[in-house]
Amino acid sequence: AGPGRAGAERACLCRRERVRAMFYHAYEHYLESAFPYDELRPLTCDGQDTWGSFSLTLIDALDTLLILGNVSEFQRVVNVLQEGVDFDIDVNASVFETNIRVVGGLLSAHLLSRKAGVEVEAGWPCSGPLLRMAEEAARKLLPAFQTPTGMPYGTVNLLHGVNPGETPVTCTAGIGTFIVEFATLSHLTGDPVFEDVARKALKALWKNRSDIGLVGNHIDVITAKWVAQDAGIGAGVDSYFEYLVKGAILLQDKELMSMFLEYNKAIKNYTKFDDWYLWVQMYKGTVSMPVFQSLEAYWPGLQSLIGDVDNAMRTFLNYYTVWKQFGGLPEFYNIPQGYTVDKREGYPLRPELIESAMYLYRATRDPTLLELGRDAVESIEKISKVDCGFATIKDLRDHRLDNRMESFFLAETIKYLYLLFDPDNFIHNDGSDFDVVVTAYGECVLSAGGYVFNTEAHPIDPAALHCCRKRREEQWEVEDLMREFYSQKKTKRFTLKRAPDHGEREDAKDPADASSEKAGEKRNSKKSSHSLLSCPSQSFNSKLAVLGQVFLDNT
């Protein structure tokens, strides 16, 4: 007999506890054997520096601690980091990785620190030790952006800036994956430089897309020539698309969204085959590699954020079959051959498929997604658990292990797994709970849900962006309006201010007038242009689109 609802819930909680145990197995061994190095080497039980020398695993795992509810350890680690981490070091660091792991990790820890019971200083969330650290780290990255195109170098020396003779070739994701962290920094600190450089880099990529609307894999940041011309949604490009969407959500920015939608159209046209996404030549659109990459598995999650749940589910189910074949996702999977690709058989315990499962489970509550979670827990425990932690799978064909545990295992894989099995986690808050914080800039509503995860799974509270410098101006306006509210005789006619639009728009007309009449609605529907910042509501057949059932479009 099938398990009932209560049974399913119990199974869910039981798996959640297994994930928690997995976390501590890895985390404690890191602290014991590898700290203060960046990463744990699980086979030799020691540590190594990989992306710099920042105790990376600790920074990355910090907000996972809170999501697991371990407040005291969170507080301890915050202190350890404040004392122990130094960015004035002569280290060549990846601009991209430092941003997503270090800046992102510190920002999210800063924004969550009040929830974690850390005694925050008076200016929080607009000031705080972790924020200062994040800012410091981000400032170390700024020299990389000083190029003729505004697109950053891939590597920067934290002490000396860009090394002379540094290669100008950077991958697309290394250029377009800053807006979430940098815009948050700018909003919190009031220094616009971060958001500005991130936007400039995004625009440069947009300008250099091909005639058919695709971007390649690597570009020369000096000459803006594409060096690698493979276009797809995976390695080298992935988080660029992700950040267009997440930036649009976080900043309510139509321009970013319109860029993404254009790309999305081209991606569907040229790379999508039978719910798989292949690699094509960026100028011609011809298929160059019929492979699925492990990194591409974030795509269904991204689609679900903008409401394309049907397509997301179909692609997810494709990817899930690959997992079922190997117990993990190989870095490359040849779709026509149905097997791994030579030299790309590894699975470094990446989070992307689980991430998508978490987003999709929010949208559909489909038990199939919990099943993937179950499979992931079983696989990771059975295959990669060793005495000292969890080891990267070097080869999915025979499950040979490698001496590495990437920091994203604790930052992302475990976090998304835990969140998949913990539907009541504060991260899933749908707006029924919130905190009110009084800052020097006024009263501020925080923790109302809608957390935007950066590409290293560090959640950013979108409400926090409205808390600092900008709040003041808005507050005066709101107070004026409220005064108007209570006065009997209305003197002013209220017209809405058009959103600050970067893209071109139609002529402005008074929207308040237009919408007040029925005719206005009709005009709107005729125009058939809907807000870019919206999702389509789900179709009728989505009620039955669970347990693997998919529906073809009626059109």
């Binding site: 959500i249 079922k324 025979d398 040979r400 808005e474 709101v478 201010k497 009728f540 693997g548 059932q549």
Partner: protein, 869 residues
């Protein structure tokens, strides 16, 4: 650290037992496929369970397999093979894309892959089917049993009298096994008849003939002369020609278009029942089958009636009666219509969210006119009904005035024909439509025709009911007289019938609105994918034949009384403390339309990124607006269906329902960014607070209320400012504390500086002293060096002197020699040489002394060197 650690890898762990050693399942965890093949020789029936030890599905299925094995281990050999370990034979020979894979062998026949649900009962059922693919049918009643089943049956007739192995029997047996390969659900059942008299029942005369039974269409006999008599062909023939009156839907969990393909065929009735495939009897299923057979019985074939009878009364001894008898019996029970021609009219409603219907039964009572014949259920000619409707609408206000739960009827004369009059009975019908039907039944049996009515007083403006499909033939609508028999052929809304096991697929029922709290997992819904609607059979009624029949009938009638089911999110509870009111399907009307406040409603979905990031704005807005005149509400439209007119196709959508003008809702313009000032302006623009009329008493009152509101707002503002001030105070205190801390620090530093300075001084002193001693030593050293130099000089002199002396000695030697030669001249020089001798001895002594001195100075030099170091 060790650089070789980078290249450290570790092979996968060695495989271990997957099943416990006490399990009845043989576990070949090293993937010994060759041994597995050997084992196959030992048993007639073998089940292979190919697994991967890391696979979640394999782990979940393990328990189920063990359960089946514990029940069948005496007849079936269960072998589990680890088909993942790359050193094992299995991995090397087989290439699976998923795990677990279950293969069955019946002796040498196989593999038959099991693709059904991974649940013990289903697996056991399938294994049993593989064990006995043919059912032995020994008697007539067993034959009827076999044929009455809803699933297609194939019967082979083989006479075993002539030979122990009649020709074709083996082929037939194999075809039964073969069908399990193709049709893993085992929908086509195979039976064998050996008795000639039993075979005659289905007009099989020759041994070796094969018969496919069908209910609605004529049954078939395998055309041996056209197709070769092979297992594959028989199987293919049966699968192609089988009749699926009612189908099980069993999605396998992977990506599939099953529901898409089935539901796109047209409206579908999905029936969810808990199903145990191993159970001997399925009373509920039989009842549903009966309904299905009757629904599909269009051409009243004899066989169908026989079955019907059998299903309804399976243990009746009347079964020995021949088929024509059954037919006769059936005709007698066929309801003979005595009722006038009627039409159900659903009146338009004022608001569609109400759970009630306005249903009227409009009947033409003809004193002269067509008399219904025995066979056909009476139906109204379209013109007649239209005429009746016309008259009816002229009279309708009389019905609408009545708000009653009892049935109100009235008669009125036709405007067109003096011979007929119409009767209308109307009443409010809520979801419990069945009670309506049953009560109606009694009414319709009286010549006075019933009518039902319900209405609201103010709905006159909407009172034109729509008639769908005007040019279509209107089927019989008299519910009481309409029979379900053959309805599928008479209605243009034919339903496909499907069964789902609620033990496995209850989630679909929940999605369609089945209650989550119910213990009895029975549910029925009609889903119309094209129209994007679904109807639900009230869960308060037990799922039995008659209710199901009525459900189908209600769907089939032209003005269907069924209401689109709106799925409601039951998990939402009303929270007073939530600043943003959560609206559901059931509270929508209450919160939005009935409340005396201005309502700002946000349509959202949890998964939509653009909605979730607006949460804080709506919370702020709700905290800002006076709660006694404004409601800020939201509805999750993925979990709450709304009537069509309130649906929206994009999320988020923001609607404003101004107080007193709720019907004139306004939409927040989409191309404006959603932020607090914009929302406030939007509300200000549309709120009904503004009025330009001259002030009356009411207005003054309003004004005062308004001002009161303002005051409370200002008070809240003050509160906020106070808290802001306190926050600033706190910050100030904190700064103060930090400052004093800094000052203390400074002082401490100052003190430290002093002590450091002191230390510095003493150190300087010390260093001066050291310098002095150093100088002194240096000087001493220099002196020593000088002395040394002197000594060296002296020794050099001595050496020179020595050499001189040697020369002297040599010259003296020579002189002595010459002395011998010249004694005389030597005598004179004697004294000189003695002088020389004395001086030599003095020099030697001095030299000796110097040497000792020299060693001494070297020693002192050494020790002083040590000190300066």
């Amino acid at each position: 650290s060790c650089s070789r650690a980078k290249d450290v890898t570790m092979p996968a762990k060695l495989p271990v037992n997957f099943f416990s050693t006490r399990s009845p399942v043989i576990d070949l965890f090293r993937g010994q496929l060759d041994y597995a093949d050997q084992l196959r020789q030992d048993s007639e029936i073998v089940l292979y369970f190919f697994y991967a030890p890391w696979c979640g599905q394999s782990i979940a299925a393990r328990e189920e397999i063990e359960h089946v094995a514990s029940r069948l281990s005496d007849q079936v050999l269960f072998v589990a093979v680890n088909c993942w370990w790359n050193q094992g034979k299995c991995r090397k020979q087989k290439h699976f894309f998923y795990f677990p894979v279950i293969h069955l062998y019946h002796q040498s026949f196989g593999p038959i892959e099991y693709k059904g649900p991974m649940s013990a009962v289903y697996i056991e059922k399938f294994v049993r089917r593989v064990m006995t693919p043919l059912l032995y049918i020994s008697s007539r009643s067993k034959l009827l049993d076999f044929l009455s089943n809803y699933e297609p049956g194939v019967v082979g007739f083989f006479e075993f009298n002539a030979s122990p192995q009649p020709p074709g029997y083996l082929t037939f047996f194999t075809s039964a096994l073969h069908s399990l390969k193709k049709d893993y659900l085992g929908t086509v059942r195979f039976g064998v008849v050996t008795d000639k008299r039993v075979a005659e029942e289905i007009s099989l005369v020759h041994s070796g003939s094969v018969y496919l039974h069908r209910h609605a269409n004529t049954s078939l006999i395998y055309p041996k002369d056209i197709m070769n008599f092979t297992a594959e062909n028989i199987c293919k023939w049966a699968l192609e020609n089988r009749e699926m009156l009612i189908r099980w839907l069993r999605p396998h969990g992977g990506k599939s278009l099953l529901l898409n393909n089935e539901l796109k065929k047209g409206p579908a009735l999905l029936i969810f029942i808990p199903y145990n495939p191993l159970a001997e009897i399925h009373p509920l299923l039989d009842e549903i089958t009966k309904v299905a057979l009757e629904y599909h019985k269009c051409n009243k074939s004899q066989a169908a009636e026989a079955d019907l009878q059998h299903v309804g009364d399976s243990d009746s001894p009347a079964f020995d009666s021949s088929v024509p008898d059954a037919h006769l019996k059936f005709s007698e029970t066929f309801p003979i219509a005595k009722y006038p021609c009627c039409n159900t009219v659903v009146l338009p409603q004022w608001h569609s969210i109400s759970r009630t219907h306005n249903v009227c039964e409009l009947c033409v009572n003809q004193t002269l006119g067509v008399k219904p014949n025995k066979v056909h259920v009476p139906h109204c000619n379209f013109l007649e009904i239209e005429a009746a409707l016309d008259s009816f609408y002229l009279q309708e206000h009389t019905f609408f005035q009545v708000i009653s739960n009892t049935i109100e009827c009235s008669n009125f004369l036709s405007f067109y024909s003096p011979f007929s009059y119409y009767t209308a009975c109307c009443r409010t019908v809520n979801r419990h439509f069945l009670s309506f039907i049953s009560s109606e039944k009694t009414i319709f049996q009286t010549p006075k025709v019933a009518f039902s009515s319900h209405g609201k007083k103010d709905n006159t403006q909407f009172s034109i009911p729509h008639i769908e499909d005007r040019n279509c033939f209107i089927p019989d609508l008299n519910i009481s007289s309409m029979n379900i028999t053959g309805l599928s052929c008479r209605t243009n809304k034919t339903l496909n019938l499907y069964l789902l096991d609620s033990n496995l697929f209850w989630i679909y029922a929940e999605r369609l609105g089945a209650s989550r709290s119910t213990h009895l997992k029975e549910f029925a819904a009609i889903v119309d994918l094209k129209e994007e609607v679904h109807y639900v059979l009230d869960q308060n009624q037990s799922l039995v034949g008659p209710t199901l029949e009525n459900f189908i009938k209600n769907f089939s009638v032209l003005y269907s009384p069924l209401k689109r089911h709106l799925v409601d999110d039951p998990s939402v509870h009303f929270h007073e403390e939530h600043v943003v009111t959560e609206v559901t399907t059931s509270t929508f009307h209450q919160t939005v339309f009935l409340s005396a406040k201005n309502v700002l409603l946000l349509y959202y979905a949890q998964w939509c990124g653009f909605c979730a990031s607006l949460n804080h704005i709506f919370i702020q807005l709700a905290r800002l607006l006076p709660p006694d005149s404004f409601t800020v509400a939201r509805i999750d439209v993925t979990r709450n269906d709304l009537p069509w007119e309130f649906m929206t196709d994009r999320l988020p959508t923001i609607l404003f329902f101004p107080h007193q003008r709720k019907e004139q809702s306004v939409k927040f313009p989409e191309d404006f960014s959603v932020n607090l000032p914009n929302l406030l302006k939007f509300i200000l623009h549309h709120s009904s607070l503004s009025s330009s009329e001259p002030c009356t008493k009411e207005c003054l009152h309003k004004e005062s209320v308004l001002q009161q509101g303002h005051i409370s707002l200002l008070e809240r503002e003050i509160q906020k400012l106070r808290s802001e001030i306190s926050a600033l105070h706190q910050a100030h205190d904190q700064l103060e504390a930090q400052l004093s801390e800094a000052r203390r620090e400074e002082q401490r530093l100052q003190q430290q500086k002093h002590t450091l300075e002191k230390q510095h001084k003493s150190l300087q002193l010390h260093s001066e002293q050291l310098q002095a001693t150093y100088d002194q030593k240096n000087r001493e050293l220099l002196e020593m060096a000088e002395k040394l130099q002197e000594l060296a000089d002296a020794s050099e002199n001595l050496l020179k002197e020595n050499a001189l002396l040697r020369i002297l000695v040599a010259s003296r030697g020579r002189k002595l020699q010459s002395k011998d030669e010249i004694e005389e001249p030597l005598q004179s020089e004697q004294t000189l040489s003695e002088d020389n001798d004395i001086s030599l001895s003095i020099a030697t002594a001095a030299l000796e002394e110097k040497r000792i001195d020299n060693i001494d100075t070297v020693e002192t030099e050494h020790s002083s060197g040590n000190r300066t170091e």
